[in-house]
Symmetry: C2
Subunit: 317 residues, 2 copies
């Protein structure tokens, strides 16, 4: 039987080619250049996207109809699915592998909010010994819209910080680390009982614009919105108005619509808002995690076992 | 038998007098004014300090030699013990009751450090969509000097954030939530293996100036010092030099020596430093916790059971 050719971008972890080749004897790793060129590939069957550009990805899928399986580095795939052209092979994503850094970002922002860290920083920089009355995160309620891998990572930490955690997901089925679980049609109930609401849902036709006028109205006046999902889950103009009119307590956004957020966008100056540049998932540990996961999935694939994290393309995640 | 008179400051929780009176039938609560005056007291046996000033406290102890038991709101008592004059009754403190907000402060600062929150905030305020490569807290090592109630609260949260947690305490005995425990003579070993070191020890003759030149030298170059204990546990001038010369990675200080830190003090402008005004324990939930604890202790006292949190005055905590 011929070797299994696996396309691996040159610019991922240094140890990647060796580790992937070690999964099984008949695996042959072929390095891919930035532009999608891959010397020596004849009929590759597996492609690890890594950090390849969309152009390089399109080129590879078109050059090699032999590719049967594509693995993506990210969890959200709504941007890339329409770019796959005629490719109809298997797609897997890295859902659940970026949960740790994202969950830390969420915990940090919630703590910074209750303890007024930006203000404490201002006092420090002014050289002022000045008391601020902060609060405790413990005892507050966090609502997690989208109780998947990332949602679960957030929930586990929030519970360890003595928060009450409520989730919302399609099935409404209970999950570990959640005190309560709601169905999508109960969104307004969830929003009304939370001190913090974090969006951790994939972007799909169902979730696009999910947080609009009525949802922001359903939140508490002191309620804080955190978004680590996708900017388009929230109606941005509506959010700017709600923040400006102090109808909600604040917003911590790692994703915006559009991205990058242009310098003159009113969201930058909305009160009680902090925006970061879609970096909450960034971690020096991520590429190792994705590599570990890919190697295990490759082992399963070679052995005819079912793959983990297969994207259902009509569902969009 | 005569009623047990309990002195309670007027300015604590509104529900305090009622709750204390309800502990047992023969308890009579006497309210104390700001200046220490207490109308109607004849021979009070118990005094809840609450937020009474030192002057008021001294006045009460001198006016009423009948006082047998004094309960303090704080955990650290080194400032107040020398003020008790000839009083030789029982002193209890609120050690362990302020652990939650303090532990949250520590977690917040560690997250803010690895994820560069001050810089993220600057980018936001400048309206700049700009990536910063932050790190994960998970996988890093936290050393906790003083593995008492507050140390344990910190350890529990740090572990839930996937940190490795090492402690140091007099006995060296293992404790829940700690991966390792060291003895005082192993301080330098502990310091050398930690990404973060938090001081959570009482201020005693043994711990005063505990962190000096050699200890800062024993820390990693990237190691971060957090102090939520007392300013005098650290030699301030030495710390300023270590920070200025980038021999350690940073300092997050809720306590300083002296306090308040004067505006011209060089610690304000030391690099990678953030100072807050001895407020890490502040929480709207604290007074309820102290009241709950005091009521339980009062019940024990009335029933001849041994009191919790008795301060050993010669030990200093």
């Amino acid at each position: 039987m011929a070797d299994v050719e696996v396309l691996v971008p040159r610019a991922v972890e240094e140890e990647a080619p060796g580790r992937i080749a070690a999964v099984q004897k008949d695996i042959r790793v072929l390095l891919v250049e930035r532009d999608g060129a891959s010397a020596g590939a004849t009929s590759p069957r597996v492609l690890l996207r890594g950090n390849l550009s969309r152009d390089a990805l399109r080129r590879l899928l078109s050059d090699y109809p032999s590719i049967e399986w594509l693995h993506l580095f990210s969890a959200g795939v709504e941007n890339i699915l329409p770019e796959l052209g005629g490719y109809d092979g298997t797609v897997t994503n890295s859902a659940g592998l970026h949960g740790d850094p994202i969950a830390e970002w969420v915990v940090m922002m919630m703590l910074a909010h209750v303890k007024k860290l930006p203000l404490l920083l201002d006092h420090h920089r002014a050289g002022e010994w000045r008391e601020e009355t902060g609060e405790e995160l413990g005892g507050k309620t966090l609502g997690i819209v989208g109780a998947g891998g990332i949602g679960g990572s957030i929930a586990r930490r929030a519970r360890a910080l003595d928060m009450r955690v409520a989730g919302l997901r399609a099935s409404g089925a209970p999950a570990e680390h959640f005190d309560a679980m709601y169905r999508p049609e109960q969104l307004h109930t969830l929003l009304g009982e939370c001190d913090f609401v974090v969006l951790a849902t994939p972007l799909t036709p169902e979730t696009e614009g999910m947080i609009g006028e009525q949802e922001l109205e359903a939140m508490r006046e002191t309620g804080v919105l955190l978004n680590i999902a996708r900017g388009k889950v929230v109606k941005t103009d509506t959010l700017v108005r709600a923040l400006t009119e102090a109808r909600i307590g604040g917003a911590y956004l790692d994703v915006t619509d559009p991205e990058p957020l242009p310098p003159e966008h009113p969201l930058w100056t909305a009160p009680n808002t902090l925006i970061t540049a879609h970096t909450s998932a960034h971690s020096p540990r991520s590429s190792t995690r994705v590599l570990d996961f890919f190697c295990e999935n490759l082992r399963r694939w070679c052995n005819g076992e079912s793959l983990l994290n297969v994207v259902e393309r009509d569902r969009g995640y």
